[in-house]
């Protein structure tokens, strides 16, 4: 049990520190690296509570795809040089007090909420979320995903389709005057189409019109 607690606090600490560093890091590339670290430690936390599927998906999707994509975008847009300075600069800090105030209020409200939860002993009993020890996380997800939640699965598919259409609409540009290769034309070209044998008179040359 003590090992469990040690690991939990280790990962939780890393997650929170790296989450802060994402916003505080001066270099945008560093921010993305901290984001990846954050994702990894959160997926470790997921695995620790027995949600191994969620943890692995987090690793594959967020770390493997999304964060790497972020990194590419950041590197390509060359925003790494831009100094992220909302902590340091003295000029544009007028909105920081208001933001801090709002976050403080939300923070205290959350403490009330979580406190109410913590000291309410019968909550776990009244909860309908059944946690079974025999079936694994992945197994039980598979049980419901294509049966009880089939409509949600289909709607998610539509959302992804719309995202794809949207990305294409906003970025795809038809370029004019693009030269395309046509295999059929290339293959069916005969020698007679391209080569002409000309009798060249001596000392006269031949006029080639290009």
């Amino acid at each position: 049990m003590i090992a469990h607690a040690v690991f939990f606090y280790l990962f939780a600490f890393i997650a929170i520190v790296s989450a802060i560093m994402v916003t505080a890091a001066r270099n945008t590339v560093h921010s993305v690296f901290f984001l990846i670290l954050d994702f990894i430690s959160i997926s470790c936390l997921f695995i620790m509570i027995g949600a191994e599927f969620l943890g692995m998906i987090m690793l594959i999707v967020y770390v493997g795809a999304v964060a790497v994509l972020f990194l590419f975008v950041v590197m390509m847009l060359n925003v790494a040089q831009q100094k992220n300075q909302w902590f340091a600069s003295s000029k544009s800090s007028s909105h920081i007090p208001a933001g801090l105030l709002v976050s403080l209020i939300i923070f205290f409200e959350l403490i009330i909420v979580i406190g109410g939860w913590k000291y309410k002993p019968d909550l776990l009993n009244s909860s309908t979320i059944l946690i079974s020890n025999t079936t694994t996380n992945t197994h039980s997800l598979g049980n419901v995903l294509y049966t009880d939640y089939i409509h949600l699965f289909q709607i998610s598919g539509m959302i992804l389709l719309v995202a794809m259409i949207g990305a294409i609409v906003l970025t795809f540009r038809q370029r004019a005057g693009l030269k395309k290769q046509s295999y059929i034309k290339q293959i069916s070209r005969e020698r007679a189409d391209g080569v002409e044998v000309v009798n060249v008179p001596k000392n006269k040359g031949v006029k080639i019109d290009v």
Binding site: E109, I112, V113, G116, W117, L123, S126, S127, T128, I129, D148, Y149, I150, H151, L152, Q154, I155, S156, M158, I159, L161, V162, A163, I165, G166, I168, V169, L170
Partner: protein
């Protein structure tokens, strides 16, 4: 399997989207074909939805999807207005050169998302429907991508809407954590006792929804997005998503959280008053017609929410009536806006209206009807919409809300009347073109006709709406 006919409209619409995509891919230059096909598909869809009108209340997919008079009415309202949006905005899209096959397809998918939202009886279904419709709307807002304003409005809407979706999701997770279920019916049975977590989640969700219908204080995005997007998309924004979000408001507040009415009533009254006052005051200084209609719609949403805040069936029905008439007014207003065209340029400044009556008497009369109706002057439909709201509110003895509402109506009447003054009494400008398409003229004629003639037989609409009873 036997219940599958209850979601037949949604299945049909999904298949229609895929079919139109295929048509667009395999047939070259088929923009016009896809556009017309999607209008026809909307009409078929309307028939399918009307087919379900007689169903009292049925649930499918483990009670997560609900078909009842409210959902049927709102779905048909959305589809009818989508048809009119399609037929009225065709010339605009063509002359702006942004008619692509994806445009109608995105509209269709956004309507699909709205239908899912309207029927949702579960937090997950509701959220997925919301995301589907907003994702299509982000792209539509930025559709005129070579225009800086349009791209900016798309980006702005995307960032702010994603933020509000985050808040909404956070609220959903709190509610799930504290009540143990995402299903509205189930939450209603468990959340009788007041728990901080549930109320906290409820507030977050109200914030998210208020953002979607652009109610104060979550309205900041509306004027910029309305102004920046292409006018056809602005029309879509101003009309359809509000119907869907208002329906979710009704479902959400009156199914799972009817026991917590004391908690959310105050919030709703505040949002409603703030929207009415802000919508009336902030619109005065505007010079762009699209910005003006954005502020006007903020105000109108305030009235619709006032009906909801009353907490009675009558209040809900008055809100539904209000939003129906609001949509007709929006359609009529934007049809007028589409007619202000000269040499492929569309005019959207208030000063362009100057002296419209000398050159375009019929258009001016239509504009007059719309503006009087927006201001709520009898005997036009807009008056009755406000009248029902105030009756419902006063019957619950919420006099403060009613008085503020009436006062802001008076303030709002100022800028509507100012437009009429500019149209009728200012110096005439150059003539606009008059060769409008049949669809546009038809839309304007129908919507203005409804506004003028509603008072002759208000029972026609009221009878359908009176079937909606949530409590």
């Amino acid at each position: 399997m036997i219940n599958l006919d209850l979601i037949f409209p949604e299945i049909f619409l999904s298949l229609a989207i895929l079919f139109l995509l295929m048509v667009g891919v395999f047939k070259k230059n088929s923009e016009r074909l896809v556009y017309n096909l999607s209008t026809i598909l909307f009409i078929i869809l309307l028939a399918l939805v009307l087919n379900l009108f007689s169903i009292e209340e049925k649930m499918i997919f483990n009670e997560s999807y609900k078909i009842d008079p409210l959902s049927s009415f709102m779905k048909s309202l959305i589809i009818v207005s989508a048809v009119f949006v399609m037929i009225s905005s065709f010339p605009y899209l063509k002359s702006l050169n942004i008619l692509k096959i994806e445009y109608p397809i995105l509209i269709l998918s956004s309507v699909l998302g709205m239908m899912i939202m309207i029927s949702s009886n579960d937090l997950i279904v509701f959220y997925l429907g919301l995301e589907l419709q907003s994702l299509a709307l982000y792209v539509l807002a930025a559709f005129n991508r070579d225009n800086v304003l349009s791209s900016e409005s798309g980006l702005k809407y995307f960032v702010l809407s994603a933020l509000s979706s985050g808040l909404l999701l956070y609220g959903c997770s709190l509610i799930y954590g504290f009540s143990g279920s995402t299903n509205f019916t189930y939450i209603a049975n468990t959340s009788s006792s007041i728990e901080y977590g549930v109320i906290f989640g409820l507030v977050f969700i109200i914030v998210g929804l208020a953002f979607k219908i652009s109610a104060v204080p979550f309205h900041m995005w509306a004027p910029d997005v309305y102004q920046g997007s292409p006018t056809s998309v602005t029309l879509f924004f101003a009309a359809l998503p509000k119907v869907a979000a208002l329906t979710v408001f009704i479902r959400f507040l009156y199914t799972p959280f009817i026991n917590l009415i004391d908690q959310w009533q105050t919030i709703l009254v505040f949002i409603s008053i703030a929207s009415m006052v802000f919508g009336a005051v902030a619109a005065i200084g505007q010079s762009n017609l699209k910005r003006l209609i954005a502020y006007s719609s903020i105000g109108h949403m305030g009235y619709a929410l006032a009906g909801l805040a009353s907490g009675t069936n009558q209040g809900i029905q008055s809100s539904v009536t209000y939003i129906s008439i609001y949509i007709v007014m929006t359609l009529a207003f934007f049809s007028c806006l589409f007619m202000l065209k000269k040499k492929e340029v569309f005019y959207e400044k208030i000063e362009d209206l100057s002296g419209l009556s000398t050159n375009h008497p019929i258009l001016s009369i239509a504009m007059l009807v719309v503006l009087f109706s927006l201001a709520g002057i009898p005997p036009l439909a807009g008056f009755f919409a406000k009248f029902y709201i105030f009756t419902a509110v006063i019957e619950q003895s919420m006099y403060f809300l009613a008085i503020i509402g009436l006062l802001s109506t008076v303030i709002a009447a100022f800028y509507y009347l100012r437009l009429i003054k500019i149209i009728y009494f200012d110096k005439p400008k150059e003539k606009f073109e008059t060769d409008h398409t049949v669809g546009l003229k038809f839309t304007l004629a129908i919507s203005t006709g409804i506004l003028v003639l509603y008072f002759l037989y208000p029972g026609l609409l009221n009878e359908v709406i009176s079937k909606i009873s949530i409590i």
